[in-house]
C-alpha cells in the first residue's frame, strides 16, 4: 500500500510539470497582456511595467525563471492584484473555498445518496419519479440561476438569510451559497446512487441475504450499499476537487472571498501568474483526490489490489 502511494505521488511530479508547461505557453498565445486595459497605458509606462515584471525578456527565459521559482514555492507576483503575491492570494482565499466546498460536498454526498437510495427502493413509483425529476432539474438548472433565485426568496423577500458575503463565517452566511454549490452535485450523486443501487439490489448476494430473512434495513444499508458505493466513490474525486477549489460563479454571486474566481479573473485579465497558480492548485487537488479514491476502492472492494 505504502509503495503504491509513493509510486503515485512520484508520478504526479511529471504530470504537474506538463500541466504547468502547457498552461504557461497557452496563456501567452492569448492576445493582449496584463497591462492592456480598457484605458491603454502610454508606451513609456508600458515599458517600465514590462521591465519591472520581467515581461520584456524572451519567453524561454521567462519560462525558466518561472519554473525555477515555482519549484521553491514562489509563484510570482500577481500582475493584477499588485499588492499581493499569487501564493498570498491563494493562501488567503483557499480556506474560504475549502470550508464552503466541504459543506457543499457533504450536503451533496449525503443528500444525494439518501435521495438516490429512496428512489431505488421505490423504483418506478410516484416518489421515484418525483425525486428523479427534481434531480434532473438540479443538474440542468445552472447555479447562476439557482443562486439569485435563492437570494431573492430567502434574503430579499423573507429576509431570513444574508444575500452575500462571508460575514463572521457563521452558518447563516454559508447556507445559500452551499445549496447553490451542492445542488447540481447532489443531483449527480442521486442519479448515480439510484442506478447502482437498483443494480446492487438485483445481485445474487442480496437475494441470498434476503432469502436468509435478514432485516430489510441491514440488507440495504450494510450489504447493498457497499457494492453500490463504487461508482459514487469514483465520482467523488473530480467532484471534491471541483467543489473544494471554489466555483467562480457561486463565489461571484454570493461574494465569497475564495479562490474560485481567480482562475476566471486571471484569465480575463491576462494575469499569467495568477492563472498558473490556480492551475497548479487545481491539478494538485485532482491528483490527491484521485489517489484517495483509489485507496478507498481497495477498502470497499477486496478485488482491487494496490500492488
Amino acid at each position: 500500500m505504502l509503495a503504491f502511494v509513493l509510486r503515485r505521488l512520484a508520478s504526479a511530479v511529471p504530470t504537474l510539470f506538463i500541466v504547468v508547461t502547457i498552461s504557461f505557453f497557452l496563456m501567452r498565445f492569448a492576445p493582449g497582456g496584463p497591462f492592456n486595459l480598457e484605458r491603454p497605458l502610454p508606451p513609456a509606462t508600458m515599458e517600465n511595467l514590462m521591465r519591472a515584471y520581467q515581461l520584456d525578456q524572451p519567453l524561454w527565459r521567462q519560462y525558466l525563471t518561472y519554473m525555477g521559482n515555482a519549484v521553491t514555492g514562489d509563484f510570482g507576483p500577481s500582475y493584477i492584484y499588485k499588492d499581493n503575491s499569487v501564493a498570498e492570494l491563494i493562501g488567503k482565499g483557499l480556506p474560504y473555498s475549502v470550508e464552503l466546498g466541504f459543506y457543499a460536498l457533504l450536503l451533496a454526498l449525503v443528500g444525494g445518496v439518501i435521495v438516490g437510495t429512496i428512489a431505488a427502493l421505490r423504483q418506478n413509483s410516484a416518489l421515484d419519479f418525483a425525486v428523479m425529476s427534481v434531480a434532473t432539474i438540479g443538474v440542468t438548472v445552472p447555479n447562476f440561476v439557482v443562486g439569485p433565485v435563492l437570494t431573492l426568496i430567502f434574503a430579499i423577500m423573507l429576509a431570513w438569510l444574508p444575500a452575500g458575503g462571508w460575514g463572521d463565517g457563521s452558518l447563516r452566511f454559508l447556507i445559500l451559497p452551499m445549496i447553490a454549490l451542492a445542488l447540481p452535485q447532489l443531483a449527480v450523486f442521486a442519479r448515480l446512487t439510484r442506478g447502482s443501487m437498483i443494480e446492487a439490489l438485483r445481485t445474487d448476494h442480496i437475494r441470498t441475504a434476503r432469502a436468509y430473512g435478514l432485516p430489510a434495513k441491514s440488507v440495504v444499508v450494510v450489504h447493498a450499499m457497499r457494492g453500490a458505493m463504487l461508482p459514487i466513490v469514483s465520482y467523488l474525486a473530480p467532484c471534491a476537487a471541483a467543489l473544494l477549489t471554489g466555483s467562480a460563479v457561486v463565489e461571484t454571486i454570493f461574494t465569497i472571498p475564495g479562490v474560485g474566481r481567480y482562475f476566471v479573473l486571471g484569465a480575463i485579465n491576462r494575469d499569467y501568474t495568477l492563472v498558473m497558480g490556480t492551475v497548479v492548485l487545481i491539478a494538485i487537488f485532482v491528483i490527491v483526490f484521485n489517489l484517495l479514491v483509489d485507496i478507498l476502492y481497495g477498502l470497499l472492494d477486496p478485488r482491487v489490489r494496490h500492488d
Binding site: A30, P31, G32, G33, F35, N36, L37, E38, R39, P40, L41, P42, P43, A44, T45, N48, L49, R51, A52, Y53, I80, Y81, K82, D83, N84, L89, K92, G93, Y96, P148, T151, L152, A155, I156, A159, L161, P162, A163, G164, G165, W166, G167, D168, S170, R172, E251, T252, I253, F254, T255, I256, P257, G258, R261, I268, N269, R270
Partner: protein, 531 residues
C-alpha cells in the same frame, strides 16, 4: 434582516471593545458597495475608480474634490502661482498629521511624487504628474530623480516647478496618483506599506482590515486635521464585481451605497426605491472611431454620413434606459469654464440628418447606386456594447443599404489591437476623464498620440490648435482655442461621439450629505448615516 444586523453589530462591538475604541453603540458605520476588488492600495499603481474611492478616504492630496465635485484645498491650505504660471508654492496645513501622529511634511510630497516618476516604480499613471519639470524625462530614465521640479522649502512649504503652464494642474493634484505616502513608512516597510496594520495614511480614515473579495474596513483617523467634522466612525467597502449581486445586497439592506448597476434595472429600481436611484452624468464619452487610413473612411463625407445616421436618442433611451445621454461633442458637458463644441448636425432632427447623410454618402460615391459599402464594427465583448453595435448596424443598413458585420473581442484583446495600430473599419471606444479638462478628451485625436488616436486622424490644423492651447496662459483664451479645435474635430468626425455616460448609484435614504457630481467624487468624509 434584523437578526443579521444584531449579529454583525455584536461582532463590531466585540471588535471595538478589544481595540479599546470609543462608545461602540453610537458607532456610525457606512456600508459602501464598491464595483470590485481593489487591485492595489498603492498610489503609484492604482488605475481604477474602485481603488480611487478607497484611497481618497485613506489619503488626502494637496487638493481634493469637495462633496459637489469642486476642487478645494486638501493637505495644502493655500497656494500661490507665479506670474508665468510655472511655479506653484503650496503651504501645507500646520496641523496635518499622519495616522501615526507624525506631521505631514513637504518632504513627504517630494518623496511621493519622486517615487511615482521613478522608472523602477513602474507607476501606471506616472503621466498624471508629467507637467512637473523634467518628470517625463525622469520617468523614461533619461534624467536623474533629483532633476524633478520639486523642492521642500521648509517643513510646510512645497515648491513645484512645471515644464510649462498647465491650467489643469490643480485638478491633476487631486488624482489618486498624487496622493502622498509617508516617507518614513515606505522607507521602513517597502512594498508592505499598503498592508493593514502597517499602512500610515493622512486622510479622514485609516485602514483597519482587508479580506480580499469580502470586505475592506477603514476607521476614522483621530489624527486627521479635520477629524472633528468627520461624522462616520467606520466605512466598510464591499467589493462586488457582479452588478446584480450588489443590487441584491442593497435590496437586502446589507449595503447603503451601490455603484454601477445594470441599466436595464433602472425602471424597476426607480419604481421600488424612487429617489434612492441616482443617474448622474459623468465626464465620460462613448464613441466610435473610424480608421481614417483607409477607404472609404478617409473621406470626411463618409464619416459624417455614418455618424449622422446613428440615432443617438434611440441608443440612450432604448438600450441604456436613459442611463446615458445622446452625445454630439467629444468633450462631455459639465466641465468648468468650457463649453463643448457640438457637431453641426446635432441641431437637426434625426430625419433631416438621415436625408443629409444620404446626400453626403452619394457624393462620396458609396451606398445604393454607388460602390458597395461593407463595414465591420469592432467592440469589446459586453452585452450593452453588443446591443449598441447591433442597433448601429441596423441604422446603417436601413439608411445606406450597407453590409455591416460585427466582431467582438475581450477587453484586453480589443484595446491591445487598437493600441498597436491594428487596421479596422469602425471601432468602439470609451474615454473617462482623468481630470476635469477638455484637453484630456481632445488630446486623443492629435496625430502624435500614437496610443489613443486609434483611427490615426492626421489633421495639421487640429494639431496646431492643440499646440496653441498648451502655450496659451489665459484660461478664457485657452478655452476658446480648445473649443475651436473641438469644432474642427466634430466637423471632420474621425470619431463619432455617441453617448455621454452616466454614473449609476443606489444611495440609501439613510445616507446624508450625498451630492451627484460629474467628477463622480464622493469622499466618505462628507457623508453620514442616520438610522
Amino acid at each position: 434582516m434584523a437578526n443579521r444586523l444584531i449579529g454583525f453589530r455584536a461582532a463590531l462591538l466585540a471588535g471595538a471593545i478589544l481595540l479599546g475604541a470609543g462608545p461602540a453603540l453610537a458607532e456610525a458605520v457606512l456600508h459602501r458597495g464598491n464595483a470590485g476588488e481593489p487591485q492595489t492600495l498603492d498610489q503609484a499603481h492604482t488605475s481604477i475608480n474602485i481603488e480611487e474611492f478607497i484611497l481618497k478616504d485613506l489619503y488626502e492630496g494637496l487638493t481634493i474634490y469637495d462633496a459637489s465635485g469642486k476642487i478645494v484645498p486638501g493637505a495644502a491650505e493655500s497656494w500661490t502661482v507665479s506670474d508665468d504660471g510655472t511655479v506653484y508654492t503650496f503651504k501645507l496645513r500646520e496641523n496635518a498629521r499622519w495616522s501615526d501622529g507624525s506631521p505631514v511634511t513637504a518632504e513627504d510630497f517630494v518623496f511621493s511624487f519622486t517615487r511615482v516618476e521613478d522608472p523602477k516604480t513602474a507607476a501606471g499613471y506616472a503621466n498624471i504628474l508629467y507637467p512637473i519639470k523634467n518628470a517625463e524625462k525622469v520617468n523614461k530614465g533619461e534624467l536623474g530623480l533629483d532633476q524633478l521640479g520639486l523642492k521642500a522649502v521648509d517643513a510646510t512649504t512645497l515648491e513645484v516647478t512645471l515644464e510649462r503652464p498647465t491650467p489643469f494642474f490643480l485638478e491633476l493634484l487631486a488624482h489618486q496618483t498624487a496622493l502622498p505616502v509617508s516617507k518614513a513608512s515606505v522607507e521602513k516597510n517597502g512594498a508592505d506599506f499598503v498592508k493593514p496594520g502597517t499602512m500610515v495614511s493622512n486622510g479622514a480614515f485609516k485602514l483597519v482590515s482587508h479580506v480580499p473579495n469580502d470586505n475592506l474596513v477603514v476607521e476614522k483617523n483621530e489624527n486627521y486635521w479635520d477629524a472633528a467634522n468627520v461624522k462616520l466612525d467606520k466605512v466598510i467597502f464591499y467589493p462586488i464585481d457582479d452588478q446584480a449581486a450588489s443590487v441584491r445586497r442593497f435590496e437586502a439592506k446589507e449595503m447603503d451605497l451601490v455603484y454601477n448597476f445594470s441599466a436595464d434595472q433602472i425602471e424597476r429600481l426607480k419604481a421600488s426605491y424612487g429617489e434612492q436611484v441616482h443617474v448622474s452624468p459623468t465626464l465620460a464619452t462613448y464613441y466610435y472611431a473610424f480608421d481614417t487610413r483607409q477607404e472609404p473612411y478617409s473621406d470626411v463625407n463618409v464619416r459624417r454620413a455614418l455618424s449622422m445616421a446613428v440615432d443617438r436618442d434611440f441608443l440612450a433611451k432604448e438600450i441604456y434606459s436613459g442611463s446615458q445621454l445622446p452625445a454630439y461633442s467629444m468633450v462631455p458637458p459639465g466641465m468648468e469654464g468650457y463649453e463643448p463644441a457640438t457637431a453641426d448636425f446635432g441641431a437637426l432632427s434625426q430625419l433631416d440628418r438621415e436625408d443629409e447623410a444620404l446626400k453626403l454618402m452619394k457624393e462620396a460615391g458609396y451606398g445604393e447606386g454607388g460602390k458597395p459599402l461593407k463595414i465591420e464594427i469592432r467592440y469589446n465583448t459586453n452585452p450593452n456594447h453588443e446591443r449598441v453595435a447591433t442597433a448601429v448596424a441596423d441604422m446603417w443598413k436601413n439608411t445606406f443599404g450597407a453590409d455591416v458585420s460585427m466582431v467582438n473581442l475581450d477587453v484586453s484583446s480589443h484595446y491591445a489591437y487598437l493600441q498597436e495600430g491594428g487596421a479596422f473599419n469602425v471601432a468602439r471606444a470609451g474615454w473617462v476623464a482623468d481630470y476635469a479638462d477638455a484637453e484630456n478628451f481632445l488630446a486623443l485625436s492629435v496625430s502624435t498620440n500614437k496610443t489613443f488616436n486609434y483611427g490615426k486622424f492626421n489633421n495639421v490644423e487640429y494639431d496646431a490648435l492643440m499646440k496653441q492651447s498648451y502655450e496659451e496662459r489665459d484660461p478664457a483664451t485657452r478655452a476658446k482655442v480648445l473649443h475651436e479645435a473641438e469644432a474642427l474635430l466634430m466637423k471632420e468626425q474621425p470619431i463619432a461621439p455617441l453617448l455621454t455616460q452616466a454614473d449609476l448609484w443606489l444611495v440609501s435614504s439613510k445616507v446624508q450629505g450625498w451630492q451627484d457630481n460629474a467628477a463622480n467624487q464622493h469622499l466618505s468624509r462628507f457623508l453620514s448615516v442616520s438610522e
